[in-house]
């Protein structure tokens, strides 16, 4: 049975996009493969870079914070745990933006599900993140930080991070098509957001300096907090923690999906 495309009876864009993705069964897998090969094939150390980068950042940050600022209670394992989550978020959103702005020549020539590239970017980021778990385990062992049973909840934490990052990627990409300038200042925006979020310093610092509201308003805080609880602190998240992490990630995913798919019908009008 041949497929039918009828612009009079197309379902709402968010649903049409899901159907569309199933019509390209091998596409996302091939795009992930392409991204992974492009990243690792021509590099001598290859996959090792994914593990060395967060490790190196962690070492620098630990030295800066413990020696220069003489901050107590910030541990390598704490920083590395946060960096795991933050780097995934930052790279997924940044790469998605680049894909839409600079890697999108193809979708001006042939049709493909428009979310495919961003979905592939997010899943590739997830795979890279799994590689980055290796140095995390090493540092936990080296610093004597125990793994509690709560660490088994990691898949949930990763799922929340992925859903949230995908949602934000879709929102930012939509904005970037309408205003390519966003491509220029997004890295700065990301950096600013990182300093507003307790990634390289403890959450208590924000509460002391600015008050709790700055944390409550920050969606990323809930996701990193969840990650910290299950890995670094080794405690099981409570009902409120589950609700906030799941709520934040699913709301952003839904918002991003609806906004992007509706706007993408007009993407080709922005040359």
């Amino acid at each position: 049975m041949s497929e039918l495309y009828d612009s009079r009876t197309t379902p709402p864009a968010p649903i049409e996009e899901i159907i569309s993705i199933f019509r390209y069964p091998d596409l996302i897998r091939q795009l992930i493969y392409r991204d992974l090969v492009a990243r690792y094939k021509r590099s001598f150390l290859g996959v090792l870079w994914t593990m060395l980068n967060p490790l190196a950042s962690m070492i620098i940050l630990t030295i800066v914070f413990s020696r220069v600022f003489e901050m107590r209670g910030v541990y390598p394992a704490y920083i590395l745990t946060n960096l795991l989550g933050w780097n995934f978020f930052a790279q997924t959103t940044q790469f998605s933006l680049n894909t839409i702005l600079y890697g999108n020549e193809l979708s001006k020539k042939i049709y493909m599900p428009r979310t495919a590239m961003i979905l592939a970017t997010a899943i590739t980021g997830m795979i890279n993140m799994l590689f980055a778990l290796v140095p995390l385990v090493i540092i936990y062992l080296a610093t004597g930080t125990p793994f509690a049973p709560s660490a088994l909840l990691l898949p949930f934490s990763l799922f929340f991070l992925a859903a949230f990052s995908l949602g934000v990627s879709l929102l930012v990409s939509t904005a970037a098509v309408l205003f390519p300038d966003i491509g220029e200042f997004f890295p700065v925006l990301l950096m600013g957001y990182m300093y507003l979020t307790p990634v390289i310093y403890p959450a208590s610092l924000i509460t002391e300096v600015a008050g709790g509201w700055l944390l409550w308003l920050n969606p990323m805080y809930y996701l990193l907090n969840f990650l910290q609880m299950i890995l670094f602190e080794g405690v099981f998240p409570g009902g409120g923690d589950w609700l906030s992490a799941a709520g934040v990630s699913l709301v952003f995913l839904l918002m991003g999906w609806i906004v992007f798919t509706n706007a993408s019908r007009r993407f080709s009008y922005y040359v």
């Binding site: 041949s2 497929e3 039918l4 495309y5 009828d6 612009s7 009079r8 019509r23 390209y24 069964p25 091998d26 596409l27 897998r29 091939q30 795009l31 493969y33 392409r34 090969v37 492009a38 094939k41 021509r42 020549e105 193809l106 979708s107 001006k108 020539k109 042939i110 049709y111 493909m112 205003f179 390519p180 300038d181 966003i182 019908r265 007009r266 080709s268 009008y269």
Partner: protein, 254 residues
């Protein structure tokens, strides 16, 4: 709203408009836009690449689209292949569209020939099993030989075009878009690719949209054809009629 007996048509367009809103000045930065917007100084003018096109393309036909540069031919193809969503009007396409243009678009230089066949096939909507089944034929047709396992950044542009062509025609498409008649590779390969296209044209289930500048090709190959002129469909008829008409048009303006 469904009309009976439309199954014999591969493509139906009804009053299709594609209208770009162009800012009178180039405003692509937020700052500029925000400032002017606040001052209410953003003015747009409309540019319509397609102005109410209606046409029916019968299944299995070879359908010609001719017109001068800027007449709207590429925009029309993009609407049919879903790259552009029409500003208004209805588009009905019965079958999957395979574009035979931009050969090798989507290839990645660091992937080998084989890996690129999988990637390109996935972009065309083939399943992995379909690609695996066609793999041997694609490699043989492309004449790439042992280099199929080398990254395609080492390929010549001719090899890349040959590989792109071989993937695109591996399966008889439901709706094939030919943007100009292709000249891929050397004389030998051109002959082979023309033979393959003739084979596809003979398939009663495959509809071909042929965009060309050449009145001769329209007369030789097309069952039906249309002429586009600045976004309007100004003539429609048999291949022979349109070929004559277009020939006159070009002559009259030469």
């Amino acid at each position: 709203m469904s009309e009976p007996c439309q199954e014999h048509l591969a493509v139906t367009l009804k009053d299709v408009w594609v209208t770009y809103k162009l800012p009178t000045e180039q405003l692509r930065s937020i700052k500029e836009f925000a400032i002017k917007r606040v001052l209410n100084k953003v003015t747009f003018h409309d540019f319509s690449a397609l102005k109410g096109i209606s046409l029916d393309i019968p299944r299995g036909s070879v359908f010609g689209i001719v017109g001068r540069n800027g007449a709207g031919k590429s925009t029309l193809l993009k609407v049919i292949s879903r790259v552009i969503y029409p500003t208004s009007g209805d588009v009905i396409v019965r079958g999957r569209v395979s574009p035979l243009l931009e050969l090798g678009a989507g290839f990645h230089p660091d992937l080998t020939g084989v890996e690129n066949i999988f990637l390109n096939g996935a972009l065309l909507g083939y399943t992995r099993a379909e690609i695996e089944e066609k793999m041997e034929g694609i490699i043989r047709f492309s004449e790439i030989g042992e280099y199929i396992y080398a990254p395609i950044r080492t390929y010549s542009s001719g090899m890349i075009a040959r590989l792109g062509f071989s993937i695109a025609v591996a399966k008889d498409p439901e709706i094939l878009i030919l943007d100009e008649i292709l000249s891929v590779g050397d004389a030998g390969f051109q002959e082979k690719s023309m033979a393959r296209i003739s084979e596809i044209m003979a398939n009663p289930n495959t509809t071909i949209l042929l965009v060309t500048h050449s009145p001769g090709l329209v007369a030789d190959l097309c069952d039906r054809a249309v002429i586009l002129e600045s976004g309007n469909l100004i003539a429609s008829g048999s291949g022979l009629e349109i070929s004559d008409r277009y020939h006159q048009m070009l002559g009259g303006n030469a």
